[in-house]
Symmetry: C2
Subunit: 349 residues, 2 copies
DNA sequence: AAACTGACCACAATCGTTTGCGGAGATTCT
DNA sequence: AGAATCTCCGCAAACGATTGTGGTCAGTTT
């Protein structure tokens, strides 16, 4: 847009000097006399000169912008990740462009292309539920664009990633249910393409194994979308079993929420009849009745770490013209115990 | 970042023609022969040429980017507004940069400056809770940057705005409580700087007046932050009154939620003892017990309308070099009646 | 007095793309 | 055949900033 922008040329014309002198004066170059510097700075101040970032970006082949692709903004977890990213990015002098894939692979493809065209300096990506092939990512990666994946990562990539320890988080959650005396623990499994789904399932299984409890196939129900509705349907199915479970560990909070609805509608009590544990600690989870026990993921911290890794990668590359070794940051989860799982009352620890 | 970018020059060199010819060939200019066009397009396809948006932006003094400033991303309402904005912006060929003020005036100032420096073509703004002076906005407005305000608007500005009809939404909510037989209706008031706070209060008052009910000062309690905690404290205060209210209409859902907590902890029943109505229809509201009656704001639509207005303004201005007349779009709210307010059972309508 | 040294600044190229203008060669018209 | 008309393409400037190179003028050195 052609605002009434003040450019370096305007200052130069008004002062009867050349644009290059103005440029150098503004950055305190030793070649410029103190008087000229003073005059330039004062006029720049007076006219409220702001450098044109677009011109700068073109000149330096660097936009100082990070591109972010997330599945959906409305998820509390992803919102907090964004805040973490912005926190680090801003203080390092980077802007952030956020795009949503809406859990669609097609949209993810156009997003990544749009970000590339905008010449972002790097990308932070959490893949969609549908993403099972990765050519669209590989092709951009091949062009040398720095990328960091977070939460829902592209595992085969030779890139840095930030994840939470889903496995041990799930294990801890399941162990907690076992400690509460649950013997038939069901699991609501998530979208099949995602690594986090497998990790959470694995944590559940390990906990059972550690306690010499059998893993029963019919107690594991898939919720490929991970929505409230699916959780409800899955739980209804579980409740119809002749020997119904006495606990449900869900792959995420919405599914757990759906399960709670089904349990209550069946006239059963939480946690007395069936204990429920979720994953991600959504905003609403503490507001449910009973409040939902959940595995908290440090979203803000994840955003911070991912942005830090990416910026380090960008600046390393611009110096040494080489990619730094990829790093993987694993963040700790934290089990937030609330009433939905407390059959025995608060644990002593 | 200096990816392995293919430029128009690369194509020109390889084909032994000039960059200008390549440029024209790519946009099907009549001056270029069919053979040349074919050759250029095929090579561009083969090399996967993507135009450099940064160079384009500089050349045309237009970034095709909209800047957005919202108070907080984690609010369900604002997330949906963003989705509406992206929907319209993308299909019109615009990118979107989102910034959060975190309800801080200071942050809002730096955000608006950063967006200006990025040379966005226009801005979509919802002001922070703290914003009571507007010089930072005026100074950018004076430079000719198109702006559209939404939800929390800058009223004195000579700019387009998109709001919901807070007044009639609040009136409808209050009337609904009156219809349910409530006679002592309290109001939890919101942040004092915001226009929406005043409108909602005014709707509440008008509904009382319409029904010849007295407006009692002590039934109006301020929640300057509009949080769950404040709502709880405010409700506790109301419950201690000798003649306690039989209904609470809150300026937003978190405050209503807090009130519900206080009411339940006091051993009272919702809605039998005290009916509760919120505003904004947050995601969690339908999940509460009882489900919270709330005034739904069409967030997605608001985002769409705001983006449309802004883009129209941008393109009008680039043609006629004149600002179009400011427009104000008022969207209808919709009262979502749930159990938290149903003293009498479902209304017949 | 000639040469040298700084201090200070301007010129011009550059990033990638667009676009007004002009120009060479082929074709058509008179 | 000469002029006019097309067709098709290249030159160069421009967007706003940065930066290597070189130049002018003063003062200093031999």
């Amino acid at each position: 847009m052609k605002y009434n922008q003040v450019t370096i040329k305007d200052i130069a014309r008004e002062l009867g000097i050349s644009p290059s002198t103005v440029s150098r004066a503004l950055k305190d170059h030793p070649d410029i006399s103190p008087q000229t510097k003073k005059a330039v700075n004062e006029l720049a101040e007076k006219l409220n000169y702001q450098p044109n970032i677009v011109a700068l970006s073109l000149r330096q082949s660097k936009t100082n912008t990070l591109g972010v692709i997330i599945p959906e903004l409305v998820h509390f977890f992803f919102s907090t990740v964004i805040s973490g990213i912005e926190d680090v990015a801003y203080s390092a002098g980077y802007n952030v462009i956020i795009t949503q894939s809406n859990e669609s692979l097609q949209r993810e493809k156009t997003d990544i292309k749009a970000l590339f065209n905008s010449r972002v300096d790097g990308m932070l990506i959490s893949v969609s539920r549908e993403t099972s092939s990765f050519e669209h990512i590989e092709s951009i990666l091949a062009k040398g664009v720095p990328m960091v994946f977070f939460d829902r990562v592209y595992e085969n990539a030779n890139s840095s990633t930030v994840i939470v320890d889903d496995l041990s988080g799930a294990k801890e959650a399941t162990q907690h249910l076992i400690d509460q005396g649950c013997t038939r623990i069901a699991h609501l499994e998530g979208p099949p393409n995602l690594g986090i789904t497998k990790q959470r399932l694995e944590g559940y299984i390990q906990a059972l194994n550690d306690n010499k409890m059998p893993v029963q196939k019919d107690l594991i129900v898939s919720c490929p979308l991970g929505t409230i509705e699916e959780g409800k349907i899955a739980a209804e199915q579980l409740l119809k079993m002749p020997n119904r479970p006495d606990a449900i560990f869900a792959t995420n909070d919405p599914a757990a929420m759906g399960a709670m609805q089904a349990i209550k509608e069946a006239g059963l009590k939480i946690p007395q009849d069936i204990a429920v544990v979720g994953f991600s600690n959504w905003f609403f989870s503490s507001l449910l009745e009973p409040p939902l026990t959940s595995v908290d993921q440090p979203g803000f911290e994840m955003g911070q770490e991912a942005a830090k890794l990416l910026i380090r990668q960008i600046e390393f590359k611009s110096k040494d013209n080489e990619d730094p070794a990829p790093e993987t940051k694993v963040l700790k989860t934290r089990l937030i115990v609330r009433d939905s799982s407390l059959k025995k009352g608060k644990p002593k620890k």
